[in-house]
């Protein structure tokens, strides 16, 4: 039986739950499947994966794999795939797999299909449905060759249940950590540790634009109001360009699309590119000193005035209220 290998993603010694969804596709493909984890000090994690109905949990455990460096990870994944004579190598669509799997596909000289939404049969052979044109169309594609690399969209597949009995064996993959590629060096990890909710999921979003002037004012006023309301922070392209807010705060046509219950736009004139990202918000409150600002035509409530005076008062009032 053709064997499938599912690459499971770890983040700081924890399994990333969405990466388990690929198991559902592995089951649909039929035949045996093994799970693969890479990292350092993985005994506990390996033990947590034995009940997913796999034929084995393959563990590549080495201090050299402590950080997900694409060149060495790809080399190890390709070696495992070769050694086990795998027919399908599977991952979940994510930054991690985008980084690693194309390299693996190249090392194995295998075709790759990304963002698989569903498995289909065309002329008796496996075919994969995937979005193209920014999701406006769906393509069903077949690939040539015996070996292929796939990534599955986590949202298109159910989370698998861990109820298989008996548990599968854990197999250790022997590797020479010193012999791995070392074209990449791990330097540091920077994370934005934030207690604020995710921008696209928050019920309240407070966004700021160009008049906030500098990162400190932006954080004090926009961040302050967001915290007072338990909301997320957003920004316009101009604010991001000016370095007041990080890139991933950008809301709009080329940033994130949000649809909170309450969107507060502060110092935002309302260019159509920004409005494209907020049009589905339930209530839009605009604060701007220019009464002719286009944002007021979109806003449910508008407040004309100087944000530097209004916002601190607003924060104060909410904190006291």
């Amino acid at each position: 039986m053709a064997e499938t290998l599912v690459l499971i993603e770890l983040d700081r010694q924890q399994v990333k739950r969405p990466s388990l969804h690929a198991i559902a596709l592995a089951r649909e493909l039929g035949g045996e499947y093994a799970l693969l984890i890479l990292g350092s000090g993985l005994d506990e994690i390996a033990a947590s994966l034995v009940a997913y109905g796999a034929s084995a949990v393959v563990v590549a455990d080495d201090p050299a794999l402590a950080e997900p460096l694409a060149d060495r990870y790809a080399s190890v994944v390709a070696d495992v795939a070769r050694q086990r004579n795998v027919k399908t190598l599977l991952g979940t669509s994510s930054t991690f797999s985008k980084d690693i799997l194309p390299r693996v596909a190249a090392l194995l000289d295998a075709p790759m299909v990304t963002d698989v939404l569903a498995l289909e049969k065309v002329d008796g052979a496996n075919a994969y449905r995937r979005p193209i044109n920014a999701g406006s169309m769906l393509a069903t594609v077949k690939v040539d060759g015996d070996l292929r690399v796939l990534t599955a969209r986590a949202t298109a597949f159910e989370a698998p249940t861990a109820d298989a009995a008996p548990p599968c064996p854990v197999e250790s993959f022997k590797l020479d950590g010193a012999g791995l590629p070392d074209g990449m060096q791990f330097i540091s990890r920077e994370e934005r540790i934030s207690d604020r909710p995710d921008l696209t999921e928050a019920r309240v979003v407070v966004s700021g634009g160009r008049p906030l002037k500098d990162p400190e004012t932006f954080e004090r006023l926009i961040g302050g109001l967001a915290d007072a309301l338990g909301g997320a922070v957003g920004a316009t392209r101009a604010a991001v360009d000016a370095g007041m807010a990080p890139n991933d705060y950008q809301v709009g046509q080329t940033g994130k699309v949000v649809a909170p219950e309450l969107y507060i736009a502060i110092g935002i004139s309302g260019a159509i590119q920004h409005l494209a990202g907020i049009k589905d918000s339930r209530i839009i409150v605009a604060i701007n000193k220019d009464p002719d600002a286009p944002i007021f035509q979109m806003a449910t409530y508008g407040l004309v005035g100087d944000l530097h005076q209004i916002v601190p008062q607003l924060i104060e009032a909410i904190r006291q209220g």
Binding site: I132, N133, A134, G135, S136, M137, A139, R210, A238, D241, Q253, T254, S269, G270, A271, I272, Q273, L275, A276, K279, P294, I295, F296, Q297, M298
Partner: protein, 669 residues
């Protein structure tokens, strides 16, 4: 002074110093080199033939007109630059010398001997004058390459080789003339007509005896001859090929409005299995020919906003890269030209306007974009805009039921409330849904009402014209919109259309006829200017005014030639405070939103809008007027990003005009 000419003796020898066997060698050598040239040109011709058949202009009157304007009068080459001057010298020199040499060939051994008398004297003088022009052109070209080194021109050793050959031809030509005058001991009065040769003779050849001169003449003559043969062989492998391919393309390029793209038919797609150009041979024959017409002058690159803003596109590089692909036998165009390069184009047509040999860069890019769309290679916001044009009939993804939200409280007549309208006011998606541009729609409607124009709007029956879809490369999405809109406009018996959007204007006017929609389409600037002219609106400003400048939208000014109406609406002629930008009128510079770029993300350093905003702010204007909702959007963002531009107001001409109506009314009340 009258000279009694002896018709038979007022002439010169042609091959006097050349032994008969040498003449044979000469004719064989020249014949062989011309044969190589013809064979090489034929090889190019075969490559063009590999393209899709046709694409050529068929009307001979257009051929003649174009040959006169673009080949002979060189309309596109002329401008105030050293490059243009030296080209004029080289072109006229080369043309006259080539004709003169051919005439000499005919006179030498043909049935008509006319190389004597007054004809001969004028011939000699003319050849000398244009020979000097030719040499001067070569020297200036060398100077330009050595010292000015314009980047867009491109430089390699072949250019020096070619220029040296040309200059060598000129110099040895004059040397041959001087030596001939010397050893044939021509009478001075006759020698004067061969001015340059005579000058060389009297200054440098004095004291040389006839025998030595004869030998020197023979040697120089051979050097000259070998250079001529070498030059013929060099033509097909150098920039000089354009003297042959340039005029052919000038004639062959099909005549159609600048703003019109060629429709794709379902039959073609079924036949070829392709939408657009994937392999080089998917271009048509005229397009392949046009690649060989390029002499790499770089005018297109100098005009290109994408190139100026640091994007990976140069129209010249597109042509040169495709030509290289053709010389290698063809293949996948995307292996040569990256997707990002194709997406970088704003379709402003500045390159097309500049090209002296009428290459259609935008058509080349559009054809390749169509293939990218067919292959599903577009993602992100622009793909979403296309999806929304498909689903909601507007690129912003707003419900079409909200089409009249802009008109709230204005009591704007619709095709239902006023079925006997004269003008259909086509609002366009931007002015319907973009809150900033909605003010332009409001201002235009108010002006039309004030002037008593009998108009109506389509309301929720209006949909996107499909312009962004067509420019991005989704031809069938465009056609879907075009057919639906033509049906609506027909059903509502529309004859005249006025619109504040230059892109809607261009598509309705130039592209809907391809789908059976014929209307009299006016941009709002044109109608508003008429209303001012007839006294139904006033553009008189009230007293003190700030400096003002105008940004010409590409699709209004360059593509559709309208530059007067916009200026008339804002009263530019009577306004001492009106300031033109360096790039204005038909030579305007793009705002960056065209070609679907409105929906692409750009890092700040690569924004065309910022370049243009800097140009506008540098005029010192406090008001930046424009006449396009996309320009309005881009320039608003641009001036806000520009130092000194924070307080510059960006307004549509209709908004400016409306403000003058109210102030005028306040004055009279």
């Amino acid at each position: 002074m009258m000279i009694a000419l002896d018709v038979n003796s007022t002439t010169r020898e042609v091959f006097g110093n050349i032994a008969p066997w040498m003449r044979v060698v000469f004719f064989v050598m020249i014949g062989a080199s011309m044969g190589v040239l013809a064979w090489q040109v034929l090889a190019h011709f075969r490559q063009w033939r590999k393209g899709r058949p046709g694409g050529f202009e068929k009307d001979w009157r257009v051929w003649l007109q174009r040959l006169t304007v673009y080949a002979l009068a060189q309309k596109r080459v002329h401008k105030k630059s050293l490059g243009a001057l030296l080209h004029l010298l080289l072109f006229s020199g080369f043309l006259v010398l080539a004709i003169g040499t051919t005439l000499l060939g005919i006179a030498y051994d043909g049935p008509y001997y006319f190389h004597h008398g007054w004809y001969y004297l004028i011939y000699e003088l003319t050849m000398d004058v244009f020979g000097v022009a030719f040499c001067l052109g070569c020297l200036l070209a060398m100077y330009r390459r050595a010292f000015q080194r314009p980047k867009s021109l491109g430089h390699n050793w072949r250019d020096w080789w070619l220029l040296s050959t040309l200059l060598g031809l000129g110099i040895t030509g004059f040397a041959v003339e001087a030596l001939r005058l010397h050893y044939t001991q021509v009478q001075p009065w006759m020698a004067h007509w061969s001015t340059v040769g005579w000058l060389i003779d009297t200054t440098m050849l004095r004291g040389i005896d006839v025998g030595t001169a004869k030998t020197m003449h023979l040697v120089t003559w051979w050097v000259h001859t070998i250079m001529v043969a070498g030059f013929f062989i060099a033509i097909p492998v150098s920039r000089f090929l354009h003297v042959i391919t340039g005029p052919i393309n000038i004639v062959a390029r099909p005549e159609r409005p600048m703003g019109q793209l060629v429709p794709l038919t379902m039959e073609e797609v079924e036949q070829t299995g392709r939408t657009g150009v994937h392999e080089l041979v998917d271009f048509n024959q005229q397009q392949l020919l046009s690649l060989d017409a390029c002499m790499e002058c770089g005018r297109c690159e100098d005009a290109c906003p994408a190139f100026a803003s640091g994007k990976p596109l140069s129209p010249k590089a597109v042509v040169v890269d495709l030509r290289r692909l053709m010389s290698l036998g063809g293949g996948d165009v995307h292996a040569t030209i990256r997707d990002e390069t194709l997406w970088a184009c704003t379709m402003c047509q500045a390159c097309v306007q500049e090209c002296p040999v009428l290459i259609g860069h935008v058509d080349l890019i559009s054809d390749m974009r169509r293939d990218l769309i067919g292959e599903g290679k577009l993602s992100g916001p622009p793909a979403k805009a296309l999806q929304q044009i498909g689903n909601q009939q507007n690129p912003y993804g707003r419900p079409n039921a909200d089409r009249l939200a802009w008109a709230e409280g204005l009591d704007v007549p619709t095709v239902e409330s006023n079925p006997n309208f004269e003008y259909l006011f086509w609002v366009g998606c931007a002015a319907s849904f973009d809150p900033r541009a909605q003010k332009v729609a409001r201002a235009t409607a108010q002006l039309l009402k004030k002037a008593g124009v009998n108009f109506a709007v389509l309301g929720k029956e209006e949909t996107c014209t499909g312009d962004p879809a067509r420019r991005i490369g989704d031809e069938f999405l465009f056609q879907e919109r075009a057919q639906a809109n033509v049906e609506t406009l027909g059903r509502r018996k529309v004859k005249k259309i006025v619109t504040p959007c230059p892109h809607c204007h261009n598509t309705l006017k130039n592209e809907y006829p391809q789908f059976g929609g014929q209307y009299e389409v006016q941009h709002h600037s044109a109608l508003l200017a008429e209303l001012i002219e007839s006294g139904r609106l006033t553009n008189a400003a009230d007293g003190s005014k700030d400096p003002i400048t105008l940004h010409d939208p590409c699709y209004l000014a360059r593509v559709n030639g309208e530059v007067d109406a916009t200026r008339a609406v804002i009263g530019a002629a009577q306004d001492e405070q009106f300031r033109e930008m360096p790039r204005c009128g038909k030579k305007t510079f793009c705002c960056g939103a065209g070609g679907g770029r409105m929906w692409f993300d750009e890092p700040p350093a690569e924004r065309v809008s910022n370049l243009r905003a800097q140009e506008a702010v540098a005029t010192g204007a406090q008001t930046l007027a424009t006449a396009c909702p996309f320009c309005l959007n881009m320039m608003s963002a641009g001036v806000a990003d520009t130092a000194g531009g924070e307080n510059v107001k960006v307004l549509d001409i209709a908004e400016l005009l409306l403000s003058r109506q109210t102030s005028a009314r306040t004055q009279t009340e």
